[in-house]
Symmetry: D2
Subunit: 150 residues, 4 copies
């Protein structure tokens, strides 16, 4: 595993502040988990209103937390006064997303000056702690200059 | 444009019934738009609780309606007693998803016996009707046997 | 279809010069086809040594001309002293690539200052001129400063 | 790492026989490396006629060996009288593919009855043995019935 240098000292705090501004994640009930340089987890407890027609987590919801985890994994490495935007991602849905909660675990694969690549695994976890990998994402991020005071 | 034969006569009704069972789409406030053989639209009005940290529609939310539109575009061609599941998809985020509503327009590219490929474009529409393409998806779907009475 | 402004006047000539330096395309026997602002075609005649185990064009070979066509479609829009590199791409293999030649037709979806998105369709063409779409690609390109004299 | 059960006893021999029928890989000069249940390596020594305009391995060539390695990683798990075809793949090009040889290392992520997902990493290796990861692929494979005697 490559070791990464954080882009700012208070990367955890910066991530929390950005996370708190995301209306969509509040709506879903997602929580920020572990954050480390080049790494981020997002946790999403099960709710019936997050499902598709078979009662599993909707693939779009799974993708929402994977995209968010990937974005923040990259963001931990960005210098001050920068923002992160996703350029593109690809998701393989490996097994039904059924469980008591989802955990998206994102890791930076390559950190560049303008472009950063991450990979994200999403696990469905049962109350007894057993985990099954249900999705895998490859994602490309861009670093953009932050708006003043952003 | 290829012309497609619907898999059941009442494909619109079957789509509506499946759509109504999707808790996640109700939570987001998405509506089913035009449905035709090999084609489906999903519409999503703007709400502040669908956004990311900059106030645009969250890329995961954009993906949720794109994935759903693509799934139902394929489903219109499926025979009775079958269900649709997404195998994988890839999304390019072309411009900020900012507008009064999003419209995901999905078209079947190739319909196979087991696997179907769709492409989906998502447009951000302003109150005055101007549209800007904000995302493009390529998606692979699988047809699975429906559970009894499903 | 959006209308694009070429990045240099002699974009065709610049494309030909770059194409001529690509050893891999010479090895495969690929030719540059139509080039227009935001558009490029690459043609590949059938040879037995371009195939996979069933005698069709190898998916990697199909991808090679798709990637090249996409790269040059974007490159037509780039200013002087810039080069094009592919950041990532995704290919759906829609039908067996069997025919007398392949034609990759690439179109810019979105042209940005640093990043450009293309979509590419590859058709397998028979001697009688019938075409079947065998692959579809979504591709992200980056513009980089050209090395001196490059 | 999950442990996989091979689909046939002589999976190595079956892979070699299929590999030997691939004209494109012979043209490129690729070799089959390590093969294990759910795993396959393809090695490609550098040649000037495998390059793009900057003298690196062409992204399409990198993709060709990644796609092949992924396909055979899945194939090791397939029962007798079956063939493997790639449905789709996505590649992130992480760094310039420059070195004395490329090595594509493919691992099955999920093995299903009809569909198998792999991930593939491609490394550029120098004569002194140092390796740099230059590409990452996610790939979907389908199992199809083999033609008689195939």
């Amino acid at each position: 595993m490559t070791s990464f240098t954080p882009g700012v000292e208070n990367y955890r705090e910066r991530t929390e502040q950005s996370f708190a501004r995301q209306g969509a994640l509040r709506l879903l009930g997602a929580d920020l988990g572990r954050v480390a340089p080049g790494y981020c987890e997002i946790v999403l407890p099960y709710r019936a209103d997050l499902t598709q027609q078979h009662g599993y987590f909707h693939a779009g919801i799974t993708t929402t937390i994977a995209d968010t985890a990937g974005g923040y994994a990259g963001y931990t490495l960005f210098p001050p006064d920068s923002e992160v935007v996703a350029v593109e991602f690809k998701v393989n849905l490996l097994s039904p997303a059924v469980g008591d909660r989802l955990i998206a675990c994102a890791q930076v694969l390559r950190a560049g000056r303008n472009l950063t690549t991450t990979e994200v695994e999403v696990f469905a976890e049962s109350a007894d702690g057993t985990r099954k990998r249900c999705a895998k994402m490859l994602q490309t991020l861009a670093r953009v200059a932050a708006p003043e005071g952003g």
